[in-house]
C-alpha cells in the first residue's frame, strides 16, 4: 500500500514557484484566494493571512496596475551592473488590494516615471519579475 503524501508535500506542490514564474512570463500574477474568507495572497503563502485557513484556489490576475513607489538604482547588487540605471518598482494591481514589485529598465530620472504611472508585468528572467510602463 502506498503511503499517502504528507500535508506539507501536497501544499508545497500546489505552491511551486515555477507555476508563479510561468504565469509571470505571460504577464499574469498567480494569486491564491482563500477558500474560506476570499482573502487574496501572492502564490508564496501557505496559510491565509486573514483567517488561518490552508486551502486556496488559484486566482490569475492581470498584471496591470499603477506605480505606487520606486527607486532608481545607481549602485547595484552583483549581476545588475550592466542595467544601471534601472528602477525597482512597487505596483498596485488593478481591481485588487495586491501589490507586486519588480525590475523596470530604461528609467534614468524621476521625470521618466511619475508616481501613478500605469504599468504592466511583462515577464520574468534573470532580472526577476519584469514590469514595464504601459
Amino acid at each position: 500500500m502506498q503511503a499517502a503524501p504528507s500535508t506539507y508535500s501536497k501544499v508545497y506542490k500546489l505552491l511551486a514557484k515555477e507555476e508563479f514564474i510561468n504565469n509571470a512570463k505571460l504577464g499574469k500574477v498567480l494569486a491564491r484566494k482563500c477558500t474560506r474568507c476570499g482573502y487574496l495572497h501572492l502564490a508564496t503563502t501557505y496559510f491565509c493571512q486573514n483567517c488561518g485557513n490552508k486551502t486556496f484556489e488559484n486566482a490569475i490576475i492581470e498584471g496591470k496596475g499603477t506605480i505606487m513607489t520606486y527607486t532608481i538604482i545607481t549602485v547595484s547588487p552583483e549581476g545588475y551592473e550592466k542595467y544601471i540605471p534601472y528602477a525597482w518598482v512597487v505596483m498596485k494591481l488593478d481591481k485588487t488590494d495586491l501589490r507586486i514589485s519588480g525590475f523596470m529598465g530604461g528609467i534614468k530620472s524621476p521625470a521618466d516615471l511619475p508616481l501613478g504611472t500605469k504599468a504592466k508585468m511583462t515577464g520574468y528572467d534573470e532580472r526577476g519579475i519584469i514590469i514595464e510602463k504601459l
Partner: protein
C-alpha cells in the same frame, strides 16, 4: 518574572577595523565584563548576534567567544536577524534572565565586513530582503528604503532637504562620540551634492558599512544589587513582525513591526512615548528615522519632518533622537548595532556619555529592526 538589569557595557570603535571578527567581539565582551566589574566565570550563558561571520571565516561564534573568555563549558546561542540581530539577541538574553533560567548572561554583537568591498556587501545585504521579489529583482537595501522615501516625500510634502537634515543632526551627535565611524560634521549641501546611490537617496542619506562589536551584561535584580552600584533596569521589552516584502504592506510609509514592538514595550513598562527622555532608533537611512519616530509614537504620522525642522530631535531638543550619532554617523556593524544602542543607553543613564549627555535623562528607548523592518525589537530602560 525576574526584574532584569544591565550592569556593564562595552564597545569597540565602529569603522574599518583591522582585527578579526573574533578579536573585536572579545574586545567588546571584555570591556563589558570590566565595566560590570565581574569575572567571566560568573557568566551562565552567551547570546552572540552576527550576520556575515562567513565574510571573516568564522561562523558559530558563540563557542569561540566563550572559549576565549575561559568559559568553554558555558552555553551560547548565535543569532542572525539581519540588521536587527543585536536587539533581537538582547531580547532572548532578557527573556532567559526574566524567566529565571540564568542569573547573569553576556550579549555580544559583532560584524566584520568592510574588507569585502561595496559590491560584496551590497549583494550580500540584499539577501536579507524577501529575495525573490526584492534583491532578486535588482533592489539594493538603499533602493528599498529609497522606495519608502519616495512614497513618504510624496504623501507628506517633505523634501530631500528634510532627509538631509536627519543626516546633519546625527553627524552633529556622532561628532561628539569617540567611537563613531563617521566622526565629522556635514551640511545639508554636503548631503544633497553627494552621489546618488538609489534615487532619491544619496550617499550621505545612507549609513556606512561598518565593522564593530558591542557587548552588555544582563542579570537579575538580586545580582545587580550585590555586584553593582551603577546600573540600569530593563522596564519594557517588545517584539514585532511585518510582511517580509514591502509589497506585502498596505502602507509603505510605516513599519508595522515597530508599532507592534513599541506598543508591547510601552505596555510592559507602564509608560507612554511622552515619558521617554531620548531614543536610539534604527536610522539605517535618513528616511527611516522619520518613519521610526512616528511609528514609535513620538510624533503623529507625517509630523516627524516638522519636529525635525524645529530641532525637537536634536541633543538639546525635547526628545533627542540618536544622541550616539545613530547608524548614520556612529556606524552600522549590523550584528552589533542593536547591542550598541543598549551600550549608548547604559552610558547615558550612568553618566558616561560625556559631551553628548542628554540632560536629566531617566528613561531611554532602543529601537532596532531587521531588513526593511520585517523583524523588530524595542526596549525601554530606566536609571536606578
Amino acid at each position: 518574572m525576574e526584574k532584569v538589569c544591565v550592569i556593564g557595557a562595552g564597545s569597540t570603535k565602529y569603522g574599518k577595523l583591522q582585527d578579526s571578527i573574533t578579536d573585536i567581539a572579545l574586545q567588546a565582551s571584555v570591556d563589558a565584563l570590566e565595566s560590570a566589574g565581574i569575572e567571566p566565570k560568573k557568566i551562565q550563558a552567551g547570546y552572540i548576534s552576527n550576520v556575515f561571520g562567513i565574510a571573516d571565516k568564522q561562523v558559530h561564534l558563540g563557542p569561540v567567544i566563550m572559549s576565549n573568555l575561559g568559559i568553554p563549558e558555558v552555553p551560547s546561542l548565535s543569532i542572525e536577524s539581519a540588521c536587527g540581530s543585536g536587539s533581537i539577541s538582547f531580547r532572548e538574553a532578557y527573556a532567559n534572565v526574566a524567566a529565571g533560567f540564568y542569573d547573569v548572561v553576556l550579549a555580544t554583537g559583532v560584524e566584520k565586513v568592510t574588507h569585502t568591498g561595496t559590491e560584496w556587501t551590497t549583494t550580500y545585504f540584499s539577501y536579507c530582503s524577501d529575495f525573490f521579489y526584492e534583491g532578486g529583482a535588482g533592489a539594493s537595501f538603499p533602493g528599498l528604503f529609497a522606495s519608502m522615501a519616495r512614497a513618504y516625500l510624496a504623501e507628506f510634502k517633505a523634501t530631500e532637504e528634510d532627509l538631509a537634515m536627519v543626516a546633519v543632526k546625527n553627524h552633529d551627535n556622532g561628532f561628539l562620540n569617540p567611537k563613531a565611524h563617521l566622526r565629522k560634521k556635514i551640511t545639508v549641501d554636503d548631503v544633497l551634492k553627494s552621489a546618488i546611490v538609489a534615487s532619491p537617496l544619496k550617499l550621505y542619506d545612507c549609513c556606512p558599512f561598518s565593522d564593530g562589536a558591542s557587548a552588555v551584561i544582563l542579570c537579575n535584580e538580586k545580582f545587580a544589587k550585590t555586584h553593582s552600584k551603577n546600573y540600569i533596569e530593563v522596564i519594557g521589552s517588545g517584539r514585532g513582525g511585518s510582511p517580509a516584502a514591502l509589497q506585502g504592506r498596505e502602507h509603505i510609509t510605516t513599519i508595522p513591526s515597530t508599532k507592534i514592538a513599541a506598543q508591547a514595550a510601552y505596555k510592559m513598562a507602564g509608560v507612554t512615548p511622552k515619558d521617554i527622555d531620548f531614543a536610539e532608533v534604527h536610522d539605517c537611512f535618513t528616511i527611516a528615522e522619520l518613519v521610526d519616530t512616528e511609528d514609535l509614537g513620538f510624533f503623529e504620522k507625517g509630523e516627524a519632518v516638522e519636529a525635525l525642522r524645529q530641532g525637537r530631535t536634536r541633543l538639546n531638543g525635547d526628545i533627542p533622537i540618536n544622541p550616539s550619532g545613530g547608524l548614520k554617523s556612529k556606524g552600522h556593524p549590523i550584528g552589533a548595532t542593536g547591542i550598541g544602542q543598549v551600550v549608548e543607553v547604559f552610558d547615558q543613564l550612568t553618566g558616561k556619555a560625556g559631551e553628548r549627555t542628554v540632560k536629566d535623562a531617566k528613561i531611554g528607548l532602543t529601537h532596532n529592526f531587521g531588513a526593511t523592518g520585517a523583524s523588530c525589537a524595542v526596549h525601554i530602560f530606566k536609571s536606578v
